[in-house]
Each structure stands twice: as C-alpha cells, then as structure tokens.
C-alpha cells in the first residue's frame, strides 16, 4: 500500500500561500495575531505543529516528515513529542547519520519505537558537503560521504536486534555491541533514503526501503526509478521510489490558478532574482526545470507546466522542488495517480498553510486518488 505523508513545517509557515509576509512561527517577522507568539502558551509554535500533526492524522495521512535544516527545531525532539500526541501518525525524522553515533542512534530509535508503538521512519540524508556541511561541524571528503552512511547503517542494523556485533569500518568500529534486552527486537524503522548519484543508489541498495527524490519532470523520474530498481536489485532487495512535492488544490481549476496569480502579484521578485543569481554561483546541481519554464514576473503562471505539473511553486514559498501540483481537486488526484503509475511507493506532500492544507488535501484530494485504498467508508 502506498504511503502518503504530510510535511511538518518545522521551518515556519506562511499563513497565506500568496502572502510572503504573513508568517507563522518565529522564523519570520512576528506580527500581532500570528500564531506565534500566542498568549498564554509556553511553546506556541510547537503547539501549532502538534495541531498540524493531528490534522494530518485525522485527515488520513500515514505519516509526517519532520525536516532538518540549520535553523529548524530538531526532528528527534519534535518526533518524540508528536508520537505521544498522536495515535497512528508515523513520524519521519530527517537525519544526517554522522551527527549521532550509530550505536546510540539505534538506542534512541528503539526508545522511539517503544514509546510510539513502532511508528518511526527515517529520511536518511547524506549531506551535500562544502560550507553547508561545515556549519554542522562536519568536514568530510565528497567521495567518502556515502561510504560513511553505509557504515552507519551497517552498524545501526548490526546492533538493532541485540548483537553481539563487531565491525571494523573506516568510520565506525565497534566490538561486541548490541542493544540490551528490553530495547532490542523492535520493528526496525523504515528508511527513506535521499540521493540519486550512483554512489547513493549503491549505498541505499543495502539498507533503504525507499529512494526519496524531489519532484522532477516525468521522463527524468522514469529514468531515475529504473536506476533505483536496477541497482537495488543487485543486492536482491526491493527499494521503492518515493517523491516529495508541493500541492495547491482548490475546488475548481480557476480558483487554483487565481491563487497562484495572487501569489505572483505579491511576490518579492527583486529578492527572488537576487537569490537566483546567488544560487547560480554555488555548486548546487542544476535545476531540473528548463529555462523557458522558469517563473518570471511577466509570465502567466498557467503557461509554466511540464507534463501537467506547475514549475513555479517556489514563488509561493514552496520548499524543495518548484515543480508540483496546481489544480482542482480532481486534477490534483489525477496527477497523484500519474505518479503512482510510475511505481511510486511513497509520497510526501506539502501545502501552505500546512494546517489548513493538510485538512483540505486529506479530505478533498486523497479520497479521489484511484491508486489509494479508500479510507472513507460511508456509514451503513
């Protein structure tokens, strides 16, 4: 069964998808009436995240991704709180392996499995290297990154069921290690694994359950998924492709595109262009969006579509790929079915504002997705 996850905006949230300055959380400018700070609440933004998590759960999502950026609250902490305030929602911790020793990460994970009834997932990130990586205090040679991730997961897996487990790696060495009795033997958290280079795909073949990629044009996705399957099957394992993408759905096509045009009108184009120029100077991998389909202030957003997916969602504050879903509830469900048709086993959706849109997508769009087992059951 395909997993549907929602994203928790630990990085803050817009209160209105089309208004860049209408923010929630203390990452943007705080203004009177914004949810954070709220009166009488000791941790208002965390309360808001819990509200989103519960909404996603009630509206039918299987889990929630808790992203990790330098400026966000830590996903391990957020996950342990959310686990105790939800019943079935799975929490996906975005995590770069080196930050915690794998033996200790196994211990913390086993505790999370025990307190949540086995609802933990990981989004294993290997990290991009360079100055961004050094912010975290991590200087590692580019080519060694996936080897370290593989070793981390070797050790994590090795101690998980109790050991005794010994390992002599380049990065990790343990001798006769293993989780103690009450912690050992929990269900191992499923692993979503980010990264699409050959090194990444070989590494995940050994341990990952899902290969997670940001949304790209369908041709690129098909080619990538073929490689995922080929390389994973060399280890005799089945790694399912998974996609994260942003979604803006409304009752009608026109309402959806009006919302995008409103965002277009309110966007700070000077800042966007400056940021775009700056990112060209970095060594990030090129955008998957062809130049003529990249958003500009003079273009009608409705013209910017690839395979029926809109290529300008970053203008509306979307994190991750600018390519995502815009349209009526029916269109949105069709696009999701298109992705499921590529063999996708997991989707991580996000929409702004995250509370309201979790309810909307869960209530209005997911029930129309043909490739999803129906969760709504009419009263007898």
């Amino acid at each position: 069964m395909v997993q549907f996850h929602w994203r928790l905006p630990t990085h803050g949230d817009r209160a209105d998808v089309a208004l860049p300055k209408d923010t929630r959380g203390d990452w943007g400018a705080l203004r009177p009436g914004n949810v954070a700070p709220a009166v009488n609440a000791p941790s208002p933004y965390h309360e808001h995240l819990l509200e989103i998590a519960r909404a996603a759960e009630i509206a039918g999502f299987d889990g929630a991704l808790i992203p990790s950026f330098p400026h966000t609250d830590d996903p391990w902490v957020v996950a342990s709180s959310i686990a105790r305030h939800t019943k079935t929602l799975r929490t996906m911790i975005a995590f770069q392996p080196p930050w915690i020793n794998p033996v200790y990460a196994a211990k913390a994970s086993a505790s999370l499995q025990r307190l949540s009834g086995g609802r933990l997932l990981f989004n294993i990130i290997t990290g991009g290297g360079g100055p961004g990586q050094l912010w975290w205090g991590d200087r590692i040679a580019h080519d060694d990154r996936y080897r370290r991730t593989t070793e981390f997961l070797d050790v994590f897996q090795g101690v998980w069921n109790g050991g005794p487990f010994s390992y002599e790696g380049k990065f990790y060495q343990v001798k006769d290690a293993g989780l103690p009795a009450p912690l050992a033997g929990q269900a191992r958290p499923e692993l979503y694994f980010a990264g699409s280079s050959d090194a990444a795909l070989v590494a995940q073949g050994k341990h990952a359950d899902f290969n997670l990629t940001h949304m790209e044009p369908l041709e690129k996705l098909r080619a990538k998924f073929d490689r995922v399957r080929d390389l994973a099957s060399k280890d005799g394992r089945n790694v399912l492709p998974a996609i994260r993408l942003n979604i803006l759905a409304r009752p009608t096509e026109e309402e959806a595109w009006d919302e995008v045009r409103r965002g277009w009108a309110n966007a700070d184009w000077d800042a966007i262009e400056a940021q775009r120029a700056a990112s060209r100077r970095g060594d990030a991998i090129g955008s998957p969006i062809p130049d003529h389909l990249r958003p500009e202030r003079g273009k009608d957003p409705k013209d910017l579509q690839i395979d029926g997916f809109f290529s300008g969602l970053q203008i509306l504050g979307a994190q991750g790929s600018p390519l995502g879903i815009v349209g009526s509830y029916e269109t949105a469900a069709e696009r999701i079915d298109t992705l499921l048709g590529l063999g996708v086993g997991g989707l991580i959706l996000a929409g702004t504002p995250h509370l309201e849109e979790a309810l909307r997508v869960g209530e209005e769009v997911l029930p129309l997705v043909r490739g999803r087992q129906p969760l709504r059951i009419a009263a007898e």
Binding site: A15, D22, R31, P32, G33, N34, V35, A38, V39, N40, A41, P44, E47, H48, L50, E51, R54, A55, E57, I58, A59, G60, K87, T88, L355, E356, L359, G362, E363, L375, R376, I377, A378, A379
Partner: protein, 328 residues
C-alpha cells in the same frame, strides 16, 4: 477594555460551506453520509468527529481566545458530554454547553456541575437553553416559553440552594429536595457562572433574577444598547452581556461577500458580520461599545476560521483585559 471571546463549537458537523449538506466532517447530514473524519475499519476506527472537535478546541486555546460555546442541536452531540470530553485537552478555555433544564433534575445537574468544576478547575458555565416551542422537536415535548422560564427559575433556585445552603430543603412546582447538599470533596467548588437568554418579558425578568450573563439577540449595536438598558433597570444591577455573531472576514470586502454568498448558517446567532478584517473588527467593536463583554463567534470551517479570526481580526479589536467572573 474588559471582554472575552468565545468560539462556537459545532456539535452536528462541520465543513467549508454554510450548507449543512456539505458538512462532511461528522456523520450528521445527507442521505448517505460520507464523513471525512468518521471512518470505520482497521486503525481508522479510532478516529471520530470528536477528534476534530478536540482540534478546534486546541486551536481556540492556542490562538488566544477564551472559551467554547456548545449549542443544543437536534441531531448533534450532547453539549455537556462534549464539554467533558474536551475539558482535559485544553487548560484555560471556559465551557458554555447549552443545557436543557427541562430534561434534567436540578440536584443531579448540581452534582454533574460540581464534578465538572473539579475536573476542569472551575471552567464550567451553566448555560440554560430555552427551546422554541413552535419547533417540532425530536423529543416530542413542547412547552410554552413562560413555562420553560418558570421551570428555569426553580431549577436555578434549587441548584444554588443545594450548592451553598446544605442541608437544603425545597418544595416547589417542579422540584423537591429534602436535606440536600454536598459533603466531602465535592463541597465548596466555585459556583458556575449562569448564562441565560431570551427576548420575552418573562425571560428578561428571569435573567434579572439569576443571570450573570444575558445572551443577547440583537441585530444592531443600538438594539443591544436598548436591551442592556432595559435589563439592567429590571435587575437593579448591571449584568454582563454576550452576543452571538456569525462572521465572514476576509482580506477584502469582495472576497467576504463572495464567501458569504452561501446560505446563512442555520445555527449561527444574529448578526451575520461580513466584510474585510477592518470592517468586521469595527462592527464587533461597536457591540463592545454598546455594553457587550462576551463575543460568541462562529465561522465555518471552525478550525481554520478560528486561526483566521485570531490572526487578522483579533489584533484589530480593542486591547482585551480579562472580565471579572462573578464570584460565587
């Protein structure tokens, strides 16, 4: 300015539209109800409409409002049970579930109320509903308003006596008690605030005798001011006044008019305030100036709109200081 803001909790379904046929949150409407939050089978059997109501309650607390008003509806959940279910999920909100006194023993209501005070830290309001005798009710009873008012009068007399004056003995037209009163840990809880409503002379006189707060039916601030002056004169003391209002507040008046173009929410109170954030705030402020100190607001869907109200309208209202809750 000293006032408080309550949000209406919908006990019989919720949705994006004012049209009850579209209230898919909850399984109260439609010939073949398909309830978004009421699923059956497997893990999902654990979710019900109450999970959504808890979400609304938490949002109301998180965004800084003061209480929940839970109306009586024919097909909807029982308000007192709903309040009990939510009371431990929020720490600060007060609860005003509408109670039908005509179905309840006064003594037993006192007992329920004192337990509620204990479990909630004194956050219950005794909010007695008067039903419209013209309405064909599901329960098959029909009382004139005068008879309901007479019963409420005795009901409140007995609840107060039982609470404060043990051993309490009373013999009336509707209720009888011999040596009643609480003992042990149930004794000495704060007596709930009393909210009453109604427009007839009998109802106003009842409020004059018993109410801490009278819930107005006033379509303009001028109407509100007139009723307030009349009732304060009848009572010989200043009461506090609440107003139920349905709001549709948006960034622009055009958006608000468009979104309010659905049918009027059949459960909302008067008035229906439609406009941009400044306009709605100005209308509410006019009621505050007229003497209202409790706003009971509603908008669908109740969760999302609580956020919208708190984010955009609340900061445009006068600075709010807590109201003085009637002691005892």
């Amino acid at each position: 300015m000293s006032y408080e803001i309550f949000w209406r909790l919908p006990p019989n379904g919720d949705g994006r539209s004012h049209d009850p046929a579209q209230w898919t949150r909850g399984d109260f409407h439609g010939e073949t109800p398909v309830a978004a939050f009421s699923r059956a089978g497997g893990d999902d059997a654990r979710y019900s409409y109450f999970d959504h109501l808890v979400q609304i309650a938490r949002a109301v607390e998180l965004t800084g409002l003061d209480g929940l008003f839970i109306p009586q509806t024919d097909e909807g959940e029982e308000p007192l049970v709903t309040a009990g279910a939510l009371a431990r999920d929020v720490t600060r909100l007060r609860f005003a579930p509408e109670l039908p006194a005509h179905f309840l023993s006064a003594v037993y209501t006192a007992k329920i109320a004192t337990s509620f005070q204990r479990l909630s830290g004194g956050r219950l309001i005794l909010n007695l509903a008067t039903q419209d005798p013209a309405q064909h009710a599901w329960h098959g009873y029909s009382w004139s308003e005068a008879e309901q008012v007479a019963r409420h009068d005795e009901f409140l007399t007995v609840v107060k006596g039982f609470w404060h004056d043990a051993p309490y003995t009373f013999e009336g037209r509707y209720y009888e008690v011999l040596n009643g009163g609480f003992a042990g840990p149930l004794k000495g809880q704060p007596f709930p605030e009393i909210w009453l409503s109604g427009v007839s002379a009998e109802a106003l006189d009842l409020s004059a005798r018993h109410a801490d707060v009278h819930v107005l039916d006033a379509s303009t601030p001028q109407d509100a001011a007139a009723i307030i002056a009349d009732l304060n004169r009848r009572a010989g003391r200043p009461l506090r006044y609440a107003l139920r209002a349905e709001i549709t507040a948006r960034h622009t008046a055009e958006e608000a008019q468009r979104d309010a173009a659905f049918a009027r929410d059949p459960q909302a109170g008067d008035p229906a305030l439609v406009g941009d954030f400044d306009q709605v705030a100005a209308r509410l402020s006019a009621y505050l100036d007229a003497g209202v100190s409790t706003l009971i607001l509603s908008a669908r869907p109740h969760l999302e709109e609580a956020y919208r109200f708190a984010q955009h309208v609340l900061p445009r209202l006068p600075e709010r200081t807590p109201v003085r809750i009637a002691a005892e």
